[in-house]
């Protein structure tokens, strides 16, 4: 079984301060995290590997300026990682353009039984890459899974719709996107971590570098997205103050929590 997991990074929100009045984001510490949903996709891939001995390859979500997320994935246990670099003068990639790169990379890897990635990104809230990739490959897709299992050529997942959980199934090969918070990523192995970051030992050979130009005609990579400015989302609503007797307040709190779960 071959599993491919697509991983991206996001600026650590603990290192930034947002000034709404001035409409600016101040970066105090420029540190990046593995995208939370991609962390869950990575753990999903590793559990499938633990369970049935899959071969797991990590690919980058977007043209990353460094290969850190891939090294993290190797330290955590993936078998192989491909760092894809673009041409310096190429236009900025959006998910539409990057999907073509990933599809070409999956082909070059000889296909896969399952492609996993995060269902959404922490910063821009986009979840296009998974569905776009499934369309490009002509594979079925499952979007926003809590749990994923591969059984007898099929992938089974549990999704949440409103209050209910729904079990779904698709034939493999398929693309499944995993929700943030679905699973806790395991800690990396200490020795693998030191070796992959030092670039020594057997694990060093598991990190390869490919160029976009070797995968496809880069002229075809025209982004659909154009950035014209930036704005902030509306301020998050504050909590509500409850009144009445203890029982009434408890009831109101329980109702509010139920309501929130439904959303």
């Amino acid at each position: 079984m071959k599993v491919i997991v697509i991983l991206g990074r996001v600026l650590d929100p603990r290192g930034i301060v947002i000034n709404r009045r001035r409409g600016r984001i101040f970066v105090n510490r420029e540190e990046y995290l593995l995208q939370p949903a991609d962390r869950c996709a990575l753990e999903t891939a590793l559990r499938i590997k633990d369970g049935m001995g899959a071969d797991v390859t990590a690919l980058p979500r977007g043209p990353l300026p460094d290969d850190d997320v891939l090294r993290q994935a190797l330290a955590a246990g993936v078998d192989r990682a491909i760092y894809i670099v673009g041409r310096a003068d190429s236009p900025p990639y959006d998910d539409a353009a990057w999907t073509k790169v990933v599809a070409a990379a999956v082909d070059r890897l000889g296909g896969a039984d399952l492609v996993l990635t995060g269902a959404t990104t922490l910063d821009t809230g986009q979840g296009q890459l998974g569905p776009r990739l499934a369309e490009a490959m002509g594979w079925p897709q499952i979007v926003g899974a809590w749990t994923v299992e591969a059984v007898d050529g099929k992938v089974q997942a549990v999704l949440q719709t409103g209050e209910d959980y729904v079990a779904v199934e698709a034939d493999m090969p398929a693309v499944v996107t995993v929700l943030p918070g679905a699973l806790k990523l395991r800690y990396p192995d200490g020795v693998r971590l030191v070796d992959i970051y030092r670039g020594v030992g057997e694990i060093a050979a598991a990190l390869e570098q490919w160029n976009v130009a070797d995968l496809m005609d880069t002229e075809a990579l025209v982004p659909l997205l154009e950035r014209r400015g930036q704005d902030f989302p509306p301020e998050r609503e504050r909590g509500t103050r409850l009144a009445g007797t203890v029982e009434e307040m408890a009831q109101a709190a329980a109702d509010a929590l139920r309501q929130r779960l439904r959303r």
Binding site: D68, R71, A75, V191, Y197, R198
Partner: protein, 388 residues
């Protein structure tokens, strides 16, 4: 000159930070309150390879050097001094003595399981009559064929209550004293003649085991002599040098946590219509803390670099321990003052940090001893040999 951490050390810190936030922070207050040792955390640290962070991979370690070890201690010290102390006694002095002076066979037999957290270590030096004056130890070891028979005991042994392996210093030739008459032994705690007499009930680091050990006709095979017969004092002094550096790193973490609490509180607490951050008295405290912490950080990681590049570091390790423990105590005292009465309550971790910080000025050689070490090194360079 390059003051940046290598990529593997950045990644290592990220891994350890995540581990301590998930595994140690939730239990830190309970360890203190219930007087419990964090076995489970120690076991998990071992599984990940972190208990062998500074030891070579061939002995089950991670091979991240002394810098990696300082990062581990800083991150642990930031959230739980007790856990840092358990780890420090295990790696920094217990296992370190075996790493520094053990032969190949001893390293394979003991260092490998210690690195993986399958066994735990302690370091047995202090005795009732030999604390700061380490050379005055009374525990005797007498050769009997292929074995040595140990009689005596140790006090205030961190991890003593649960360690599987203790590196013990005993007198093998009373006529020679510390120079030539003291030998280090690797003792397994399930051997006949080894017992734990009592565990101390302490003001701070309550999540650690501080035990009194008794040796009664304890038979130790000759192959468990650590280093050479008569050179135990050298082995132990070398181990303590390493321990001092990493204790300084743990203090750095503790001081950093105190600064973070102070900043958070100064941002939120209002008095006379403005947050404490706008009060000059508080600003000065925070500026002082931040400056001392930066100075300590530079010292700790510079000494780690000296160790990793094989340069001499004894005098600077003593500075790390002495200055680190005092910076941490001062920072925690100031943050308590900034928090006012709330700082004294168990709702905040500050009172625990305050109690925990005090020991750092005492163990691994009191700060008075550190000053003697520093001064003797300075005077030796000027041709004066200081007498203790």
């Amino acid at each position: 000159m390059d003051f940046t951490f290598s990529p593997e050390h950045v990644a290592l810190r990220r891994m350890i930070r995540e581990f301590v936030e998930n595994e140690v922070v939730p239990i830190a207050a309970e360890l203190d309150r219930e007087h419990k040792v964090p076995y489970e955390v120690m076991r998990k640290l071992g599984e990940l390879g972190l208990l062998g962070v500074c030891f070579p991979q061939e002995y089950g370690g991670m091979g991240a050097g002394e810098t990696g070890y300082c990062i581990l201690m800083e991150e642990l010290g930031r959230v739980c001094t007790s856990t840092a102390t358990n780890v420090g006694a295990h790696i920094g002095i217990g296992a370190m003595a075996i790493y520094l002076d053990g032969n190949e066979e001893q390293k394979r037999k003991y260092l490998t399981p210690l690195s993986r957290g399958e066994k735990f270590a302690a370091f047995g030096l202090t005795e009732p009559g030999a604390g700061s004056d380490a050379a005055a130890i009374r525990t005797r070891a007498v050769r009997e064929g292929d074995s040595w028979i140990l009689d005596g005991g140790k006090v205030f042994i961190t991890n003593g209550g649960y360690a599987d392996v203790v590196t013990v210093m005993a007198v093998t030739d009373p006529a020679l004293g510390a120079r030539g008459g003291v030998t280090a032994f690797i003792v397994e705690t399930d051997w006949e003649g080894f017992s734990v007499a009592r565990e101390e009930d302490k003001m701070g680091i309550r999540g650690t085991s501080t035990a009194e050990l008794v040796f009664e006709e304890l038979r130790v095979p000759h192959e468990n002599v650590l280093g050479k017969v008569g050179e135990g004092f050298v082995t132990f002094m070398k181990s303590l040098d390493m321990g001092r550096l990493t204790l300084g790193a743990a203090c750095l973490g503790g001081a950093q946590a105190a600064l973070e609490w102070a900043i958070r509180w100064a941002k939120t607490r209002k008095q006379f219509g403005a947050e404490l951050a706008h009060k000059q008295s508080v600003q000065w405290m925070i500026a002082n803390m931040a400056t001392e912490i930066e100075a300590l950080r530079s010292l700790v990681y510079r000494v780690a670099w000296l160790v990793d590049t094989g340069r001499p570091f004894t005098q600077l390790a003593a500075m790390c321990k002495m200055y680190g423990s005092e910076v941490a105590s001062r920072a925690i005292d100031m943050t308590l003052q900034i928090h006012g009465g709330l700082g004294l309550t168990r709702d905040f971790p500050i009172e625990r940090a305050f109690r925990d910080a005090r020991i750092a000025e005492i163990f691994e050689g009191t700060n008075e001893i550190q000053r003697i070490v520093i001064a003797s090194n300075i005077f030796r360079e000027h041709g004066v040999r200081i007498r203790p």
